[in-house]
Symmetry: C2
Subunit: 323 residues, 2 copies
């Protein structure tokens, strides 16, 4: 049994420059990356807005992926555009330009057929809009929030109000430091639990991700070792897509909550989807992706992160037999 997933966020046209290549006006935006990743597991209900200039081919792509477009508004005007440039260390990028277009006066409208979605992802948009979505979806089983340095710096009180109402907060390490003022990620995550969050997930890019539970539980998820990164844009949103996509296939426990073991696996799925996205521009690599590909990387991550739970040498006897 699988549950449906609701996402509210941006659908955009991205122009991206890396030290090695450049693409113009390709499909981008947090909601696009998230939906493409999550729809590998379960149907996704998309809430976003595009302009009348949005390419038909991308709409058709969404429809082929079991991404419900009932909540996608098409408004007179230009689609949101983002221009970014990466450094040689691809963990670092500059935003050269942002053109809000039809997002300037966007308000989420949740179609009635979306109301039964059990999982909610509030991608990185203005915290006031995230509040409106939470108001409209009071019965959701699990809510996950993403944000960015812009809102921490300019709308901190509103962002804090949203954080108090969700189950899981996703943050990069830099965002966590910026929000909490803690130099230590462990201390910073602990501080966030004062807001009532159940889990905090710290995204660490090419270093993997950390999962902290309100009860002190902790998990460090390895990154998939990529030989080449073509474009890291959207990796955090694809991470969220893998996380919620996986959880959509899991039955919560008898108390209605997901088990920590399931959260752990979900974070590993997040890392896997994030790794695939980096292998090409836009959502291109996800287009061909199957769950069998995900399963293969899952096994690789098991193999490369598990080690003998006995801390002392266990084979003194083995060797004497062998000798």
């Amino acid at each position: 049994m699988s549950s449906s997933i609701l996402v509210v966020g941006s659908v955009a046209l991205d122009t991206v420059e890396t030290p090695f290549a450049k693409v113009e006006e390709v499909l981008g935006g947090a909601a696009s990356y998230f939906s493409t990743a999550a729809s590998l597991y379960s149907p996704v209900n998309l809430v976003a807005v595009v302009g009348t200039d949005f390419p038909q081919e991308y709409l058709e792509f969404f429809r082929r992926r079991a991404i419900n477009l009932a909540g996608l508004q098409v408004r007179q005007g230009r689609t949101f555009r983002w221009f970014g440039r990466y450094h040689l260390d691809m963990n670092v990028r500059d935003t050269l330009d942002t053109q809000l277009g039809v997002y300037a006066d966007f308000h989420a409208v949740i179609p009635p057929e979306y109301r039964d979605s059990s999982l909610l992802f509030l991608a990185n948009i203005q915290p006031g809009l995230q509040q409106e979505v939470l108001d409209a979806m009071p019965r959701v089983r699990l809510s996950v929030l993403d944000s960015m340095d812009l809102w921490i710096n300019t709308a901190r009180p509103q962002l804090t109000e949203v954080m108090k109402r969700v189950d899981i907060m996703l943050m990069s390490e830099e965002e966590l430091r910026l929000y909490t003022g803690c130099s230590s990620v462990v201390a910073g995550a602990r501080q966030l639990f004062n807001l009532g969050l159940k889990y905090v997930i710290v995204k660490q890019g090419s270093y993997g991700a950390l999962l902290f539970g309100q009860d002190g539980s902790y998990f460090s998820a390895p990154a998939y070792p990529l030989e080449e990164v073509v474009d890291p844009t959207g990796a955090g949103d694809a991470f969220a897509g893998g996380l919620l996509g996986y959880l959509s296939t899991v039955e919560p426990g008898p108390d209605g909550h997901y088990r920590f073991e399931d959260l752990k696996r979900a974070v590993v799925h997040g890392n896997i989807l994030g790794s695939f996205v980096c292998e090409d521009f836009s959502i291109r690599r996800l287009q061909q992706l199957t769950l069998a590909d995900v399963a293969a990387r899952y096994q690789t991550l098991v193999a490369c992160s598990h080690f003998d739970p006995n801390w002392l040498p266990s084979h003194s006897s083995e060797t004497s037999t062998a000798g």
Copy 2:
């Protein structure tokens, strides 16, 4: 059964400033950190030089730790001094001053009683000196090499010659990028195997460490989640101490080589010793440390990095029973 470990490197007096505190002329130097960590597991044979100003109390400390000082030269002059300052992000530091003192014309002399050491750590010193030590220790079972950006920039050909003669190379991510020119750690490590190395270990500070094998084997070791970092100085050398210390307690396989599973555990021990060092200035935290403390962190790392090897939800049946 345990083997003895030979280390050649610096013994120094460090003055360290962090955003929160400062210490002056405390015991420092790669060989000090390494020896203190490794001597938790096995006897350590130290080769280094200090000046006549070197505090007696530190010599006594070494002696109490089963650190053999037959190879520690005491020369007329000043002990090596290092002055460093950390940023708020403690992964970043500036070296304010380095005073070589008696290291300026140091040559390693290996006492005859050290010749049977089976494990060798060449801490970060001039590659020419590292060559001399390799010449003097032709029958060592395993050799591990550390270096730094200074030698990559100023003595690259000599460093490369040393790398061709050792089994394991330790590098930070930045050093690996600098040496190979590869932006990807995976591609960079692969490139190093052309030199004949058996393993490459990439130290990632608060993100843990990666172990690459010549045959394509790979392991990602989680970092111990520290709530507070007091001073990261020496973490890389304590890492090496945990790594070789653990291996000194392990019998190699019938072919004379260590098993990959043992290397994995050794890297975890390295991360653990590195984490302890960060909890206080100098080697202070290691002074009280017992193997029971190491074992406790080992269990924590097992618990926080292992996850269900089945990638699909396994409890659909469980829940139907529970419901």
